[in-house]
């Protein structure tokens, strides 16, 4: 089931945007993880295998587990995806510091591939964001 809000629409573009970015896939070549990504309103179970999004379905899924979750408010994603984001809204960890996003669970895969996740979740910025 597809979500209709602009932030969810942007998230649903992630697999397509990632497939166009061979360098980012290459950087994630050793990454296999099941994570929960999205907004505080609507999030997705994202299965990453060898740096590619192998599966992505809206949460919740009955009894589906995840290793780590990164979720930000819809307003935070909208600001983050601006072509030139304002100060304090420009980085995943600036969002957590200001309380506009949460990072929880076992964050080791997130930290081992920190730049990968920063770049993955910034992909909608170059594709119109949540407009």
């Amino acid at each position: 089931m597809k979500k209709s809000d602009p932030v969810s629409s942007a998230f649903e573009q992630l697999p397509t945007l990632l497939e166009r970015d061979a360098a980012l896939i290459q950087r994630g070549r050793l990454l296999d993880v099941d994570c929960l990504l999205g907004s505080t309103e609507h999030s997705y179970h994202v299965a990453i295998r060898a740096g590619r999004i192998a599966d992505m379905v809206p949460a919740p899924v009955l009894m589906r587990s995840w290793t780590f979750g990164y979720r930000a408010t819809p307003e935070a994603w909208t600001a983050f995806w601006q072509p030139m984001p304002k100060a304090g809204w420009h980085d995943l960890l600036s969002l957590t510091k200001r309380g506009a996003a949460t990072l929880d669970g076992d964050i080791k895969p997130f930290m081992t591939h920190l730049q990968y996740f920063k770049d993955l979740l910034a992909l909608p910025r170059g594709a119109g964001g949540a407009a």
Binding site: G88, H90, M111, L114
Partner: protein, 285 residues
Amino acid sequence: MTGYIEPMVGRYVHVDIDGTMHRIYFEEAGQGIPLVCLHTAGSDNRQWRYLLADEEFTKHYRIIAFDLPWHGKSNPPANWDGSEYQLTTQRYTQTIRAFCKALDLNKPVVMGCSIGGRIVLNLAIDHAREFRALIGLEAADFQAPWYDTAWLNRPDIHGGEVCAALVSGLVAPQSPAEARMETLWAYKQGGPGVFKGDLYFYRVDGDLRGRTTAIDTKACPLYLLTGEYDFSCSPEDTVRTASGITGAEVTVMEQLGHFPMSENPAQFRRYIAPVLATIQQKHSS
């Protein structure tokens, strides 16, 4: 020779720091007022290469940028046994003063960024009369932590990758891609545990809250400049710090982050040029 050779020259000076001899690498260019530049935690003096190559600044300043021990081309001391590296307020202060003494610098200006900005505040508190002026970039008496430094040095995570990825968000999005890459490259090259060890000073040992009110800017002028995109040492942190220091001059730099001198040298120049001109005018009058 037909190749373009940049103006800075690199040398080593042997410096006694608290009874241990260190071989300190530094680069310098220009002549005039000594201007000692301090790099950020986990990086090295390459951050200052644009300032060192500035034809105008080097007409009036002898710009000197050194690598802290364990950083860049300043190796750990010969007697290091591999124990955990930790920078302290006392150690950092000793290092700067010993370096200036070894080069016989007469009342230098010291400009530091991040941990370098924090230690500049400590120099202003305890040793103001030794310096002509002090410049703190991305400086505050304290700032709230935004990550656990334990992630920076563990055998199952690539230290260079995680250090660079963490600080990548501190570079302003307007910064040129090549300068951003170069700024992060230094973080990818740091020795294991060195960035974390520097942050011991920043996070644990160097809390200057309550002490900065003792700064006498009549004894030594203090300039604080912070980039608007720095969410580690935010403009609010710097303004709060300056509000308790009579005479401190504060500038919030637009379109800059935590590494102004290396992430966007042209934009940084717009802000640092008036400061250097003011110090030079006071020196001449």
